[in-house]
Subunit: 273 residues, 2 copies
């Protein structure tokens, strides 16, 4: 999917919500554990109830790999279900991959060809030749870690290099890579005041923003500092939406939580556009 198509969808739905599909069998309603594929059935119900409120879904790959073959099968069914029924929705394989060039090419093949995701999250530590293979697929995107929402972000990402924090050097350097217009970036909502600095370096890029909800970030603050003239934000909520209830009403409760965020987003969009 092109970023233009994503922007159109955001304006149409009045939403820049991304819903994280981090399915943990210990947290989903117990009645689902009796069906053949609980993870997929859970996802399908969540997607049916929320697809009109969000513009992106982000399965967190770890939660599928933890269940081995069965988990990978649930992931495959989930992405196929989204692509078939809601092709207008942007899909993100949250995988944080990155390796030497020929290996990154294999990961890109896994997520862009075998599974037909629109994008995959990647880690920058190994540099240019570990990321560029993800940018060789037309219409596909790599979403690179810049400044993450966890406490460990302060271990290395904010260290000073060449007179500025490492994450800023990462952003500046990545702009020079081949097909860098297909890059988006992960910036945690828990660090809202940093968005102003990031927008100086990346006025046009899309930012994927985790950390709203459970992790404590504020939507209004993120938008205040982070929005650009094409919106330029995908704000993710995972546990705050999908685990709104652990009972039979889980999907409708998830939709209510999603609706609350979408309404807040619609108001913000009305103020800015």
């Amino acid at each position: 999917m092109t970023t233009q198509a994503l922007v159109s969808e955001i304006k149409k739905k009045q939403s820049f919500l991304c819903i994280g599909l981090d399915v943990d069998l210990t947290k989903i309603p117990s009645h689902l554990l009796e069906v053949d594929d609980p993870i997929f059935e859970f996802n399908k119900a969540i997607i049916k109830a929320t697809h009109h409120l969000c513009v992106a879904y982000k399965p967190n790959i770890a939660f599928y790999e933890a269940y081995g073959l069965k988990g990978w099968k649930s992931l495959e069914k989930t992405i196929n279900y989204i692509n078939k029924n809601h092709p207008e929705i942007f899909t993100i394989a949250d995988a944080k991959r990155g390796d030497i060039g020929n290996t990154s090419s294999m990961y890109a093949k896994a997520f862009f060809e075998d599974l037909d995701f629109d994008s995959v999250t990647v880690a920058p530590y190994m540099g240019k030749d570990s990321i560029e293979p993800f940018l060789e697929f037309p219409g596909k995107h790599a979403i690179m870690l810049a400044l993450t929402s966890n406490q460990g972000a302060f271990d290395f990402q904010t260290l000073t290099t060449d007179g500025q924090p490492l994450y800023q050097t990462v952003l500046e350097t990545s702009k020079r890579w081949k097909n860098s217009d297909q890059l988006m970036y992960v910036v945690g909502a828990t660090k809202a005041s940093y968005f102003a600095e990031i927008r100086k370096i990346l006025p046009d890029s899309f930012l994927l923003v985790p950390g709203i909800g459970t992790q404590g970030g504020s939507l209004a603050e993120v938008c205040n500092y982070g929005m650009n003239n094409q919106v330029g934000l995908l704000v993710n909520s995972s546990r705050g939406i999908i685990y709104a209830s652990s009972d039979f009403d889980f999907a409708s409760q998830a939709a209510q939580k999603a609706k609350a965020l979408q309404s807040e987003m619609a108001k913000i969009l009305a103020d800015y556009f």
Copy 2:
């Protein structure tokens, strides 16, 4: 597996060779493409021919994920085969994972519980709380990227922070993490002269060294700078061994390449111990 058991095995086999199982269907002998599970059959033949010459196997997870469900099944069969037939061999899931804490826990569960690997490679960019979940499993190890073998290593890993290269800060910081005695580190063979600096920071840790062979690193140089009094090195070769021949004799040719490296290692061990 404990590091003590690994050291015993190294001394017994006179080898610190790790063989990388990076199986690419476009590179394996064509007669294998006709069998039910070509990737597993290829691995099984390589393992049968080389297990007495090496102390570790390292499947590169990307190469399995690229084939989706089938690939994950081949991976599962490969690790089960090694654990059943050669439990003395140290196994490495080369996955370069790392995410916020609850997600890293799921990756750890995937590789240490669902698949029973001894270790998994991890990326440091997200800091302490992204790595510590991998260190909570007794007898299991996280192998963290420090200085990698690719050109992109110079993009960020060698940038100066606090008067020293970033990778050195990464090493020093990680020593303070919980259960850091279960950490090992990836250091590329293509940067042999850096090993002296790394050994000042990490006199005792095991280093996993890719980059011998296809990528151009020298075994003698790596040992000269990087060996410690417990050997402390696992030197990996992937393509140089497993693709020695693409004909019916691929396994015996792989064994010859492995034997050549093991002999070189035995000579070095004789000089040092």
